[in-house]
């Protein structure tokens, strides 16, 4: 069995707009191996979040191939992608994206309910305890602070024990104290479950905690020497 979790080969993402088609990603080739933590950095609009969405099958490539956990995601339709994510991928967003009509516990249990896990609620309780929110399990998102909501989102992403954890600026909407706590939790969960982590961030100190950093500029991977030294270069970007 290969150690490659994700493999992107000449991936393009173009979106149709009123003024014509816009290329968001331009020929990205990249691999991520099992257990690795990868930081995606770059200026606003460089395509970091779009690349993360492609990795999670939330967006479909216009061209090229995206292999995840040994499956060709470009061959799957929207429903196929949704089923593929079940139990294998967890996603954490900057805006949390909790379902407002569900309690913290229900939000965390939901992906496991969808995946047909029998003890979804028991596991959700454990995961809420792990992020320190056991006592808030019956609260709705609107009754929680931003930091708490993100911890619930993190528990939701981690609860199904995913192989791949994707986080899109998870601290972007939080103050520095809450942000640091969330990052500790993310790395703690990764360590505990042994998941592969891909993290989109603007913060250099967070990127620095990753095994490898890939910098995007204008939809392409930046291969200039100055893009690399900030991180401990265990793995190189394959351009």
């Amino acid at each position: 069995m290969t150690d490659t979790i994700l493999a992107l080969d000449d991936v393009w993402l173009s979106l149709a707009g009123n003024a014509g088609s816009i290329d968001i990603l331009k020929g990205i080739s990249l691999t991520v191996t099992r257990g690795e933590t990868l930081g995606l950095v770059g200026p606003s609009g460089s395509g970091k979040s779009s690349l993360l969405m492609l990795m999670g099958g939330l967006e479909r490539a216009s061209r090229g191939r995206v292999m995840a956990l040994g499956s060709d995601m470009t061959a799957l339709d929207e429903d196929g992608l949704a089923r593929f994510r079940r139990g294998k991928m967890g996603v954490v967003f900057q805006s949390f994206h909790l379902i407002p009509t569900m309690t913290a516990l229900e939000n965390v249990a939901l992906p496991m309910e969808i995946a047909g896990v029998a003890d979804a609620f028991a596991r959700a309780e454990d995961e809420l305890e792990a992020v320190g929110l056991a006592q808030r399990r019956h609260h709705y998102p609107s009754q929680m602070s931003g930091g708490e909501q993100q911890r619930v989102a993190l528990a939701r992403a981690a609860a199904p024990r995913p192989t791949l954890l994707l986080a899109d600026e998870p601290t972007g909407n939080l103050d520095s104290v809450n942000g640091a706590a969330i990052m500790d939790l993310i790395f703690g969960l990764r360590d505990r479950h042994g998941a592969t982590l891909v993290l989109v961030t603007h913060a250099p100190e967070l990127a620095a905690r990753c095994d490898r950093i890939v910098r995007l500029v204008d939809g392409r991977i930046d291969t200039t020497p100055q893009a690399m030294p900030a991180a401990r270069m265990k793995f190189g970007a394959e351009v």
């Binding site: 939330l58 929207e78 996603v91 939901l110 969808i114």
Partner: protein, 837 residues
């Protein structure tokens, strides 16, 4: 598909409450309530007619003859069947008092009348007492309207033919009046025996007799009907009994009920626009949730099921509200409704209309909700970043499901209403109108976008803003035009048809129509009658013809109703005339007019009606005239014009065919308006037995009836408009947030509140006017089609009602729109803009 999980997700989602579903519930509940209410009243009348069948008929069974009394043998046979029998004679005549000569429908009865129920007279005078009379004259009772028209008080005298009567009471109610059908004149009631010297019931005069019977309890009506027809063959009798005492009323109630249910369905279609809009805006607010569910691994099926269950629950609530309203209101107002209806009605809970209304509500709600629901299923996980409901068409399986639902709805309405043609016509009309209105709103948006960019509007900020917001993507233009347009289209069509018919009747017909029809002119009176009219310089034209009445019983030996379907010429009795030589002005279109004095019975039939019933030259036709069956060959077709209210006979026979049959003459008299009263006075003085039917008065009655139908249709269209107005309010409410933001931005860039208000108002005016104009055009086309193809009348565009429709559209959108501009105008820009971030 995990329905249990879908149900759990749906239940959790509904914790957010039903906010935003007010319009959804109102649209659905209104439509269902209207259909359930109409159905309840219809069932109540049907139950009343069934229960009161015998009273309405005036007996358990009735046998009718046309223009003759039962022969002694026939009467003996009928008496042998019944425990009690009563004879009624019904005919039109002139009631005369001094100079007043008014047409009346006379009911002459015997002492046994009424066998069932009671006649109600003013001051509770018993009928028998009223008939005793006063001052040596027999008594008569009269409809109050007629008495007032003639200026008669109780105790005054008047004449029917050559018999004087004393008016002894005003007639309030006859127990058997519902079976009589459309009457051209108000009622006078006398004893038949008192008419012996009146000279009104001579052979050949136009009167009907009916023999009501109370039958032994064990009598089997079906067997008795068959036996009677077998015992009295060729008598021309018509049988009716309590099983269907008032078939005319039942048919009328059925038709009106079906029509109103179909109008209710049109209301549901308008409500459907609101339902679809509410579901769409609900799902738009849920895009983030749906996309999150996608991210967590939910497939389209699970998402569709979760939201379908939520909408299903709402449909259930809406339908139940509608049913509660539709059933509750008639039950609460039972007393008022029962006394207001001219038929007996028993308001109670009837399950069938409730099931029917629920069926219509559920199917139509899902039909309209399915499109936005199916598109929600297409929301991608990427919507978390990029937003928006997926555009384009739902998947094929959902389109197929929508087609099936539409077919079930239309098929169901055809089956339940019992008038497939009307149901398909209504469905076609609604679908065509929705398509036309949809295209029109799309065109309006495109035009608004184009004009908004025009240089002509430079500096006219309010107008440009209004136009730009009409043409903007996701503007509520389509919703407003669809919701308002359908109701306005029905109203416009009714307006066009009604005003065209009125002008045809009031303006065109009197110039071509005769002043009077005179009937019951005895053969020995016709020469004197014509001479009298010839001497009157005010009379411009007189046409006379011998007239008999006959019922077409067979065509080529087959029952006429089987051979010709339900065509009007085989329903009831028709006028028959005879002639030897071809009358002047008659145009034979096919075949040959008979040679004078030819002995073989022959018929010349009206060409158009012959084509409609599939009659061919050489066919034989059996006509029952005064109890005698005459079979004759159709040897020619004639052109007959019924449109000018002149004399038109469907059937003309040769003299030999009708040899010896007692008959009278009918005459149409064309006279100057000034000469009309004198003509009536002269003739009724000289020939008291002759009945004059004033064409103007008759047309007045017809116009009145048409007016009532137009009024009922207008009311029904108004119900559709109310639903449309609810949809408008919904559209305005859902657009309020966008208006708040728009107003805030405009204030930031320096627009005054007056200018913003003007822009918002202008937008409403333009959308309302567009809906009105499109509805006027669509209604005009519908009106033209109905007048040209159904009523075979001329059509001219009627601008007054059209203008009213456009103005109505403007007022409705303006009212609905302006309710929701107060908040946008009052909110401070910073507050509004911050909440958008």
């Amino acid at each position: 598909m995990n329905w249990a999980l879908a149900a759990r997700i749906a239940r959790r989602e509904l914790r957010g409450g039903l906010r935003g579903f007010g319009v959804f519930l109102a649209c659905l509940a209104l439509g269902v309530a209207a259909i359930a209410g109409v159905g309840m009243v219809r069932s109540a009348i049907q139950a009343g007619l069934t229960d009161q069948g015998a009273v309405l008929l005036g007996g358990d069974a009735q046998v009718e003859f046309t223009y003759r009394f039962a022969s002694p043998a026939e009467r003996a046979y009928l008496d042998s069947l019944a425990t009690e029998t009563s004879e009624i004679v019904d005919f039109r005549s002139m009631a005369v008092a001094g100079d007043a000569r008014v047409l009346t429908q006379v009911k002459a009865v015997d002492a046994a009348y009424p066998l069932l129920g009671a006649v109600q007279l003013q001051d509770d005078v018993p009928l028998a007492t009223a008939f005793v009379g006063s001052g040596g004259l027999p008594g008569a009772v009269m409809d109050g309207v007629l008495a007032d028209q003639m200026g008669l008080a109780i105790g005054d005298t008047f004449a029917l033919g050559s018999q004087e009567f004393a008016l002894t009471a005003r007639l309030l109610r006859e127990p058997d009046s519902a079976t009589g059908g459309f009457a051209l004149a108000p009622r006078t009631m006398v004893l038949t025996a008192d008419l012996a010297r009146a000279g009104l019931l001579e052979p050949g005069t136009l009167f009907d007799t009916s023999y009501r019977m109370i039958l032994p309890a064990a009598a089997d009506l079906a067997t008795l009907e068959t036996d009677t027809k077998a015992q009295l063959p060729d008598s021309g009798l018509r049988w009716s009994d309590r099983r269907q005492a008032a078939p005319g009323v039942e048919r009328f109630v059925d038709r009106i009920g079906a029509f109103l249910v179909l109008v209710g369905l049109a209301g549901l279609a308008v409500g459907g626009v609101g339902v679809a809009a509410a579901v769409r805006s609900y799902l738009e607010a849920k895009i983030s949730t749906i996309a999150t569910l996608r991210t967590l691994g939910a497939d389209g099926g699970l998402i569709f099921a979760a939201y379908l269950l939520q909408i299903g629950l709402l449909v259930g609530v809406g339908v139940l509200l509608g049913l509660a309203l539709g059933v509750g209101v008639p039950l609460l107002l039972a007393g008022i409704i029962e006394s207001a209806l001219p038929f007996p009605a028993q308001i109670a809970f009837y399950p069938q209309p409730v099931i029917e209304a629920a069926f219509y509500g559920v199917i139509s709600a899902f039909l309209f909700a399915l499109w936005p629901l199916a598109r929600a299923e297409q929301v991608r996980a990427a919507a978390l970043y990029r937003g928006g409901l997926a555009g384009g068409w739902p998947r094929t399986q959902y389109l197929a499901l929508m087609t099936v639902l539409a077919a079930v709805l239309i098929g169901g309405s055809a089956w339940l209403s019992g008038t497939a043609k009307l149901a398909f016509g209504t469905a076609g009309g609604v679908v065509a109108s929705l398509i036309v209105l949809g295209l029109a709103s799309w065109g309006l948006a495109a035009l608004a976008r184009r004009v908004a960019r025009s240089k002509l509007l430079k500096g006219r900020v309010a107008v440009r803003l209004a136009l730009a917001s009409i043409g903007a993507p996701r503007a509520e233009t389509m919703q407003v035009v669809l919701a308002l347009g359908l109701g306005l289209t029905v109203l416009a069509a009714v307006g066009q048809i009604d005003s065209n018919l009125r002008s045809a009747i009031e303006r065109d017909l009197p110039t071509r129509a005769p002043a009077y029809f005179f009937v019951d002119i005895q053969p020995d009176q016709i020469d004197g009658f014509l001479a009298k009219l010839g001497a009157n310089p005010g009379v411009s034209k007189v046409e006379s013809a011998p007239m008999l009445r006959g019922v077409i019983t067979e065509i080529n030996g087959i029952d006429a109703r089987v051979a010709a379907g339900d065509h009007w010429v085989v329903q009831g009795d028709r006028g028959v005339t005879y002639a030897d030589a071809l009358p002047a002005g008659t145009k034979v279109t096919a075949g040959q007019w008979w040679a004078v004095a030819e002995a073989r019975p022959q018929i010349s039939f009206a060409a158009e009606e012959a084509a409609e019933i599939g009659l061919a030259l050489g066919d034989t036709m059996t006509v029952n005239i005064l109890g005698r069956a005459i079979t004759a060959e159709v040897t020619s077709f004639r052109e007959v014009d019924f449109s000018n209210a002149g004399m038109g006979f469907v059937m003309t026979m040769n003299k030999a065919a009708l040899a010896g049959a007692p008959h009278t003459y009918i005459s149409t008299v064309y006279a100057d308006a000034d000469a009309e009263p004198a003509v009536l006075r002269d003739i009724s003085k000289a020939y008291p037995n002759v009945t004059a039917i004033g064409v103007k008065a008759a047309i007045g009655r017809v116009t009145e009836a048409l007016g009532a139908i137009a009024q009922a249709t207008t009311l029904a269209a108004m119900a559709t408009l109310i639903t449309g107005f609810v949809v408008l309010i919904g559209a305005a409410a859902s657009g309020e947030r966008a208006r708040v933001y728009e107003a805030a931005v405009l204030k930031v860039i320096g627009a005054s509140r007056g200018r913003i208000l003007a822009s918002f108002a202008l937008r409403s005016v333009l959308m309302g006017a567009a809906a009105g104009v499109v509805a006027t055009i669509a209604g005009g086309i519908a009106g033209w089609a109905v007048l040209t193809f159904v009523m075979e009348s001329d059509y001219a565009f009627e601008p007054v009602s059209a203008l009213a429709i456009v103005l109505g559209g403007i007022v409705a959108t303006l009212l609905a729109g302006l309710v929701f501009v107060l908040r946008p105008l009052s909110v401070r820009p910073a507050q509004a803009l911050r909440s958008q971030e």
